[in-house]
Subunit: 312 residues, 2 copies
């Protein structure tokens, strides 16, 4: 199979993205794959947005509405849909989800499902490589999780902006705090706003939780809590605006570069830990502190070679 180079990927053709992702899956450690990932890592173009929240909250519907809105604005969108893995079969529970309705002729939208296969890999596996490839090509990279397992907190390590979705009737302030949810999002959306009073109550509860947890006022970024009805397309434009405002905030304060640098360091640490364990990681601590210009993929490659020598 032919390998894809970075210029082909940058063409923005879906076929090139599909081949690049297949290549990362097939030969994650090859020199060609590494070159591709390094190049993509050095040229981030897009805004990476994570969507999380409990199952049933309406994330798929919302994602569809967001895609339609962004495309109507002429923005290109790459979507990574992280599926839960089946403990029994080891595969993705939903298979290739057909729940996103996009125009197959439209080269400006690419959707890829990934199984959150290995708990130890988590989002540190193919998802990050996929995000890096898509970020080099599309205006928006949307990562949607089903909100089970570690994915809710993992998303913080991958996305520039995290949206947490909550539905009416899902609990009071204390529950959100107990669940650790309030530490995650940059933006909160209460879905199913058409329910009226319960939706407004959920909004108040979420605001209360954010206040109690000290995530309002103290942080330089005040977390907006929005009411959404994907069915009625209510609040979608406001949400897109909130994403843009958060990105502008990150850029203004040089938070974007530093957050991505932190994410790269965390990814490297997790990848080394996944491959060589807590004890192995302890042996290469001094090599984990990469600079913003260093590709974490290249550094992992170097460290892996070192262990290979050590272990014969």
């Amino acid at each position: 199979m032919k390998t894809v180079d970075f210029s082909k990927l940058k063409s923005g053709q879906k076929a090139a993205m599909a081949r690049a992702l297949a290549q990362v899956e097939r030969e994650p450690d090859s020199r060609e794959t590494l070159d591709l990932l390094n190049a993509a890592y050095q040229e981030p173009q897009g805004h990476v947005i994570g969507i999380t929240g409990p199952p049933g909250v309406g994330k798929s519907t919302l994602t569809n509405a967001l895609i339609a809105h962004w495309r109507s604005l002429g923005r290109t969108v790459g979507v990574i849909a992280v599926d839960p893995s089946s403990r029994r079969t080891g595969g993705a529970l939903l298979g290739d989800r057909t729940r996103f309705t996009t125009d197959p002729e439209d080269q400006g939208i690419y959707v890829r499902s990934m199984a959150a296969r290995d708990r130890l890999g988590g989002l540190a596996g193919l998802t990050v490589a996929g995000m890096v490839l898509m970020r080099a090509v599309y205006d928006i990279v949307l990562i949607e999780t089903v909100g089970v397992g570690q994915s809710e907190t993992d998303i913080v390590g991958v996305a520039d902006s995290v949206l947490f979705c909550v539905q009416p009737g899902s609990g009071d302030s204390l529950q959100f705090i107990k669940a650790g949810i309030v530490e995650i999002p940059h933006i909160v959306a209460v879905t199913k706003a058409d329910m009226g009073a319960p939706a407004r109550r959920a909004m108040a509860d979420m605001k209360g939780a954010l206040n109690l947890a000290g995530r309002q006022g103290a942080d330089p970024w005040d977390i907006p809590v929005l009411l959404l009805s994907s069915m009625q397309r209510q609040g979608i434009a406001e949400l897109v605006e909130a994403f843009d405002t958060h990105l502008a905030f990150l850029k203004e304060n040089a938070f974007l570069a530093s957050a991505r640098h932190t994410q790269a360091k965390q990814w490297l640490e997790e990848a080394v830990r996944e491959k060589f364990g807590r004890v192995g990681m302890g042996r290469v601590m001094d090599q984990l502190d990469i600079q913003p210009e260093d590709s974490p993929f290249e550094r992992l490659f170097d460290i892996s070679q070192e262990f290979e020598k050590l272990w014969g």
Copy 2:
């Protein structure tokens, strides 16, 4: 600090359990700790029950009601409450939870909170050691998670019987399947039964999901779906009976021993992976297949010594 030996632990005094758990935390790799864990592992007495479900579903209230019921039957109970960890502080979000109201003079109930500190440790860390210690002493070991993150699926690797709690209005059958929840429980409880019709609808949805996922009829164990109202103490006796029936089922079919053997193997694999990574684990594959009579703690110790030699 004096170390605790197995005979002291078996006395069933709270102080001995507290000291034993502190010792495992303080010096997990010492010969004394290892001897204690090995002895406790070889003498399992209790029934290990896991309770999981989303935040706000009423797990704490239910746990309180269950403790009271078991104590009224004269059974001793050890509780491990797994708290979510704060990403920001690294500590448990809830601290030592005061949400369980137990009689401090009663030697037949011991409650211990643990932080699900490290995602890579998961329940494989102190929780399993704590479970093994408590299982050697108490009639019932109850492990309650807040149902965030990996804990929901991790519980399967620790408990003999898993109860999944769901509340009315939390989604339809498809949502339970999408979330991978249907693969987890041996018993399902719909809480807040006092809500009436919505609770009965949730029960029907859950039954539908279990059927769709092939967990009814095909499995030798038909998963009971119970209606509970902890406030009104409704359904608690039935739930305790369902736990007993499941334990009897496991014992009759020799599933209990084989399930615990599988759990021990999985724990060892996870512990080796956590310490030495995927690549390190690959090097000691032949040592991971322990026999039912082998202590996984002892085997981990042996493997660790081997790596120490290898890495100098």
